[in-house]
Symmetry: C2
Subunit: 313 residues, 2 copies
């Protein structure tokens, strides 16, 4: 059994109030892969250029990510993004986006990648997501991420892609843009009505919500002492979340609401490690024990006893 992820592989340049990096490994598929690698075999599909070399592969191989379907475009340059985070870290400005080889990306999946049980469609053109989804027709759990750009200019294809997946992962402002609903649950339910059984709404530094047709679940971001760089937090979340679900499937379980809640905690844990340092630096040397311990700590900091009787009047 394995997880396939299709999406961007990038070099990022970032500045945050705590420093910056001129060039670091990034991209949605990379952050997702590293996070999901704690749970299952991960195969990453995405394009790179001549500037992507042994150092970058070493990070992925360090977490046993299968890179056979990374497509090396001869003479091309890897996707480059640079941005600056504002004071509160919940907003960022893009300085530069050089799509490079990503601009003409047409995902080519090997038979092994197509045979995945779990698929994550990271944020790419909805039409490409739809094509990949069709190729991975044995997948029992498929999640999809997107962004405001596609909601604005490729809404119809995005709706078609959403209709084919089990879970949509967006942030709260994207949900509002897409549905016109201000409240998280109401907006998420409009998306669920398109077909998915669940929706994850990312709330940035405030955590995330899981919404199904008849329930919601809320988890805060793990309160790390120091946020160095939020880049990739959402994709690390997705990797932990989708990875945990893959593990449950591998154990022969159905994807229940309870499984997805625990997966939300794993996603939250992975995202929190991701932000503690720049780019992939922290997750690359993370251990499974640290992940499990943080999930337990998440339970400790969110539990209370509602059964205790108070004398209300």
């Amino acid at each position: 059994m394995s997880v396939t992820v299709v999406g961007s592989i990038a070099f990022d340049a970032v500045r945050t109030p705590h420093g910056g990096r001129e060039r670091m490994l990034g991209g949605a598929a990379v952050h997702f892969s590293l996070a999901a690698s704690f749970f299952d075999e991960v195969r990453v599909v995405g394009p790179v250029g001549d500037d992507f070399g042994a150092d970058e592969y070493a990070v992925l191989h360090g977490r046993a990510v299968n890179t056979d379907d990374i497509e090396h475009v001869e003479g091309g340059k890897t996707f480059f993004w640079s941005g600056v985070y504002g004071h509160n870290m919940n907003s960022r400005d893009t300085l530069e986006t050089d799509l490079n080889v990503f601009e003409t990306f047409d995902p080519k999946l090997s038979e092994d990648s197509k045979a995945c049980e779990v698929l994550f469609l990271a944020n790419i053109l909805p039409e490409l997501q739809l094509g990949v989804r069709k190729q991975c027709d044995q997948a029992t759990f498929v999640a999809l991420d997107s962004m405001d750009l596609w909601i604005n200019i490729a809404r119809e294809k995005l709706v078609q892609a959403i209709e084919t997946v089990d879970c949509v992962i967006l942030n709260d402002s994207e949900v509002e843009l897409f549905t016109g609903e201000r409240e998280v649950v109401q907006g998420a339910r409009k998306i669920i009505e398109l077909g998915p059984s669940a929706m994850v709404v990312k709330l940035g530094k405030y955590g995330a919500a899981l919404v199904t047709a008849d329930s919601s679940f809320w988890i805060p971001a793990f309160p790390v002492a120091f946020v160095a760089d939020p880049t990739g937090a959402g994709d690390s979340f997705a990797g932990g979340f989708v990875g945990a679900i893959a593990t449950a499937l591998q154990a022969g379980e159905d994807v229940t609401a309870e499984t997805m809640r625990l997966a939300m905690a794993y996603g939250t844990a992975l995202a929190s490690f991701n932000v503690e340092e720049f780019g992939t630096e922290r997750v690359a040397r993370l251990t499974a024990e640290e992940v499990v311990e943080r999930v337990k700590e998440l339970q400790r900091i969110t539990s209370f006893d509602a059964e205790k009787k108070l004398a209300l009047t």
Copy 2:
């Protein structure tokens, strides 16, 4: 045993994306009182003018709030505030603030109000908070709210007031303004170092955090279907939180971390009812059963099983 609250009693005019009111009962002490009234006897201390009449008293008496220490200033007008909420409801612009009788407010507490076991110092001049605190010298649990204005212009007195209380309740931007710390836990701990044993950090529509010297607890806002008017949500939260603690004290318990966590859920429940309609309209006809049910629902939407074993690699 009783809870005394000292703070503003007001008429509010608000506009939100869902409508508005030209003149409705409001003020921190009013919202707090109504919420806390579900837990214990509440005595409200604050000034009103000639325009404050039977209709307003009826709302407070409808929840059995003791109004003996509402000070009627002859010839005066009640504090008036008007504001407009922006699209996302997490920010608001003040259009008008007429302090009126509140401008020269000098809290006069009866012996019964001074004899309270629990005291809430709503957002007033820190010097007045300090004076009230000293008068209520038998109180075993004292909480304090404040605002950016006092942090900016009366910091020294605010620090002195904080040194005398058990719990400080501020929103996250106020914590950052006060401490310079961007992270909630780190900021709250700087305030705890001044003397309080706990700090509640309100996160607006994202919920609230409880921070002590060695723990944190996070609870989301209850996801109501419709936010009509956020005015008073923070004070309703404080009323539910402080009220629940008063109930525990009345039952002979210490104020443990577990008690405060459950109190956070009660505060969250009360705040969520408050925002469902304008001003005090919803809480005025709320029942204890509805409050308890919402607290149980809050537990349902935040629980997950971290003990379940996943096979991580």
